[in-house]
């Protein structure tokens, strides 16, 4: 049922061709239903079902599912929304929680057997999430400060000498209002891409060492052990990247909500 890569485990040095997945149903348009799009829908379905089921019948003494859902929400609301954005950040907590769960789940798909690819290893999916964050912090900031005030706040740091304006204003404008969604999405994408690539290097390297025969074969268990170690490391990285993405979104929202000084 899984869509194997078009080129599977052929050349040892894995390349970007290992990220092209074959269509499940060739009659449909290209890349309409592959492992990657399927895992996005799967993640959305799992999240909706999980939160609906665990909160359908809330108890005063929480059940196990309700406890898990509440601790995730509590972690994001208290640890990110309230601590970073402040009291008025609580209203962003549902979005942050959804974002965190979605990114964490799609990232973890990279080490789930039979899927083993994160949709975030393709730039399209992180790009949409980055643009959403960009829209949110810009809209929030423009509504609070007005368009001109918001642009001015982001372009001119307080206390800048006037002589430095020609240098500071373009740098601040580009880095605060244009580059942020790009760095957000590229950070997530590159981490997932590199993680998948590292696992491919060790696993395909182990296979290549076995195929090389002779004394090389003795070294291949090392490669496989390293692949297992890297899998655990990737799990840590995946959760960390989900956290960092939401954290940076919160920092940007906080910057938009901050008073001018």
């Amino acid at each position: 049922m899984t869509g194997a890569p078009v080129i599977r485990a052929e050349g040892f040095p894995p390349g970007i061709e290992n990220f092209n997945y074959r269509d499940w149903i060739p009659a449909l348009p290209d890349h309409f239903l592959t492992t990657i799009t399927f895992s996005v829908f799967l993640a959305v379905g799992i999240l909706i079902c999980f939160f609906l089921v665990s909160y359908r019948n809330p108890q005063l003494v929480p059940t196990k599912k309700q406890w898990i859902a509440e601790s995730i929400y509590g972690f994001v609301r208290d640890g990110i929304a309230r601590d970073i954005v402040g009291p008025e950040g609580i209203r962003f907590a549902p979005y942050f929680t959804t974002l965190f769960c979605f990114i964490a789940l799609t990232n973890v798909f990279a080490i789930v057997p039979f899927i083993q690819i994160s949709p975030n290893a393709h730039i399209a999916f992180p790009a949409v999430l980055g643009i959403l964050s960009w829209l949110i912090y810009n809209v929030v900031g423009i509504r609070k400060h007005g368009l001109w005030g918001y642009v001015k706040m982001n372009s001119v740091p307080s206390g800048t000498p006037i002589a430095l304006y020609p240098i500071i204003i373009p740098i601040e404008f580009v880095s605060n209002l244009i580059l942020r969604p790009i760095t957000l999405s590229v950070r997530l994408f590159a981490n997932m891409f590199a993680g998948h690539m590292i696992l491919l290097v060790f696993i395909l390297g182990g296979v290549a060492l076995i195929e090389a025969g002779g004394w090389f074969m003795a070294a291949s268990p090392l490669a496989f052990i390293m692949a297992i170690v890297m899998t655990f490391f990737e799990f840590f990285i995946q959760l960390l990247q989900a956290y960092v993405f939401v954290l940076l979104t919160a920092v940007y929202v906080q910057g938009s909500l901050a008073e001018e000084h």
Binding site: I16, I84, R187, A194, V244, L247, L248, V251
Partner: protein, 70 residues
């Protein structure tokens, strides 16, 4: 010798990110050692700093792949 010159560029770009992330974690560890109760307060800041410092190294990785064909 075969290979792609852009990988050397990735190596160079990784230097800055590595130094930055190292400094950030070192600072967090010494801050936590001096004042253990501030660990929770400074942990999100550490992750933000590490993520920002890491970004350029990741750009280097991407560019290494983008230009690996040429």
């Amino acid at each position: 010798m075969t290979g792609s010159l852009s990988v050397i560029g990735f190596g160079l770009s990784a230097i800055g990110g590595a130094i930055g992330v190292g400094l950030i974690f070192a600072a967090w560890i010494s801050a936590t050692a001096r004042q253990p109760e501030s660990a929770g307060l400074t942990r999100p800041m550490m992750f933000v700093g590490a993520a920002l410092a890491e970004a350029l190294a990741l750009f280097g990785l991407l560019l290494a792949f983008i230009y690996s064909g040429g």
